[in-house]
Symmetry: C2
Subunit: 344 residues, 2 copies
């Protein structure tokens, strides 16, 4: 890795080293909130777009150009590797991932294919092209964590309650672990391929893990997510994120994260206490704050920065993904404030 890249503020913060300023990027920074995204993607279906190297490169670069964020995140979706491996699913606009045949039995689990490198060659090609174009700006690769992927597969689509997922966990633990194990394998392979192609950090998205109590998380989920994070080389920073995970922050760190992502519900100083020493934090401006008048936004950004000082390293981000109707100019100003305020 070139020295300028290795020395990037984002990677320094992930490694809990002093950085010249607090680095910032936004979950879903590449997406519908950008007019240039809508223009470039046109009517290309989501999963199709994720497998077109030129589009992945362009959509990943757009927010870097516009906002001057300190990291790029690969334009993709957590279900992409399952789709690429041959599992029948689609991303339906306005709904989310929809699975043709929900996975609920051990025979269903056996149908989940492994991922081979050539199936995601358009993605790894994009990673290589991006790393060349990004220069000293790190590229974050990512994968969906076993619990969140399993929930889509078991429920057949997005779910508020994850009731069938829990029913399988509680009712047929062997099948649950077989399924989570398969998904851990797919996620590990997908992250390994992204890192080999040049991604400098990875984020494991366990978006819905917050639906579980700490005890259930520790028993049913942590071992599988730990396997995924453990499969990534030690020198590649690993971010571990979910929504509503106030009760899980310590465990999500223990799963093998260098950086624990925090949503807006827990202030970063309190999150630092829960996560303990040896890990950095990422977060945690409420993505709805950007709809407020600018002075309110600026004050909230400063508050996140102040509280973030309690962490051994702090990567500024939203507490969840950018909302589609976010004004990109507000995000651009957020980046500026984060950089200005955090500079010595």
């Amino acid at each position: 890795m070139p020295a300028a890249l290795s020395d990037a503020a984002f990677l320094r913060a992930c490694r809990r080293e002093r950085a010249a300023y607090t680095p910032v990027w936004f979950m879903r920074q590449a997406g519908r909130s950008l007019p240039e995204y809508l223009t470039a993607r046109g009517d290309t279906a989501m999963l199709q777009a994720c497998l077109r190297t030129d589009l992945v490169v362009e959509l990943t670069m757009q927010p870097v150009r516009r906002y001057g964020v300190d990291a790029a995140i690969l334009f993709s979706d957590i279900v992409l590797p399952l789709h690429a491996a041959g599992l029948e699913l689609d991303i339906v606009s306005g709904v989310g991932p929809v699975v043709a045949s929900p996975v609920r039995t051990s025979a269903d689990v056996d149908r989940i294919p492994s991922l081979s490198p050539e199936q995601v060659a358009p993605v790894t090609d994009a990673v290589r092209a991006l790393v060349a174009e990004l220069g000293a700006t790190p590229l974050i690769g990512f994968a969906g964590a076993p619990f969140t992927l399993a929930s889509y597969l078991i429920e057949g689509g997005p779910s508020r309650d994850h009731a069938r997922t829990k029913a399988l966990m509680y009712g047929d633990e062997a099948t649950w672990h077989a399924l989570a194990g398969r998904l851990a394998e797919v996620a590990s392979t997908y992250l390994r391929l992204q890192v080999e192609a040049g991604a400098s950090a990875v984020q494991l998205f366990d978006s819905w893990a917050g639906a579980l109590s700490a005890e259930d998380y520790a028993r049913y989920v942590l071992p599988h997510s730990a396997r995924v994070l453990g499969s990534v080389p030690a020198d590649v920073p690993k971010i571990h994120f979910g929504v509503g995970t106030g009760e899980l922050l310590e465990l999500m760190g223990e799963a093998g994260a260098d950086v624990v992502g925090v949503d807006w519900r827990v202030p970063l100083d309190e999150a630092a206490r829960r996560v303990g020493p040896g890990r950095a934090l990422q977060g945690n401006l409420d993505p709805a704050v950007v709809f407020a008048p600018w002075p309110v936004v600026a004050e909230r950004v400063r508050d996140v920065l102040r509280r973030g000082k309690a962490a051994e390293g702090h990567v500024f981000n939203l507490g969840h993904g950018v909302f589609p109707d976010t004004d990109p100019d507000v995000l651009a100003r957020v980046v500026d404030v984060v950089h200005e305020e955090s500079r010595g």
Copy 2:
């Protein structure tokens, strides 16, 4: 109040007095999970059903007859008083409450009517009939809390993110407080009428409060919910419930609750620590657990009972409403286990 009613296990537990056994009821016990409910309601629209005295009585009684729960909860909906007061809204099957004209400006707030007693006369008639029929079994009245009601009005319907609600809070605090104040007034009136008609306890549902950080909850929500709870006579137990409120449990108690409802994410012994002395707890079996094989359900029930001993009073309940596809026989067995295990 007759002595046998005043001495009911449910009311004793709410008052943190020793009870012969742990009382149990289920949020949404009157509803779609019961075949007799589907038969009785037929194709009557939800809000229409809530204003038919005979149906309210029958649907409220059904779970008491079937399960032998220790409290009845009025069959109704949190948006009923707004509908009864003349606000244009509907409950759409499979969606939830849908508001004709979302409330987003101070002029919109002025359109929110007050509630007068005759508008909910069918409900208070039902309360009187129920109290007579229930005898020594307490009837719980309820209302929606200002934040949760406001979210439906501002978003125009159910929302995962409550982004517009937060945008109004953060961006136009005066309008937010005016709206929440109006809704607090409606909720106070509605609870007062139910108590005057004979309800022995009330529950304030702030289902979506868990979307907020503690700081935002304290600033934007707590004063309004406190006003509602403070308007209920001191000798009527007040339960205060929301989902995903791990960060808010202490504040939800401080808002004036005798009993703090806890979802499944925080074990009751930990919840007791957070809530502190002087309050009872209600909860908190994960409603998805009922889909597991019976030995798993029984063990989980026992675990909730064990941890509930750390509270000064414990009302057994689910951590959220009964799922529509729940097997009523499992809930009946849960009631039996709670009673058997907790007796001397």
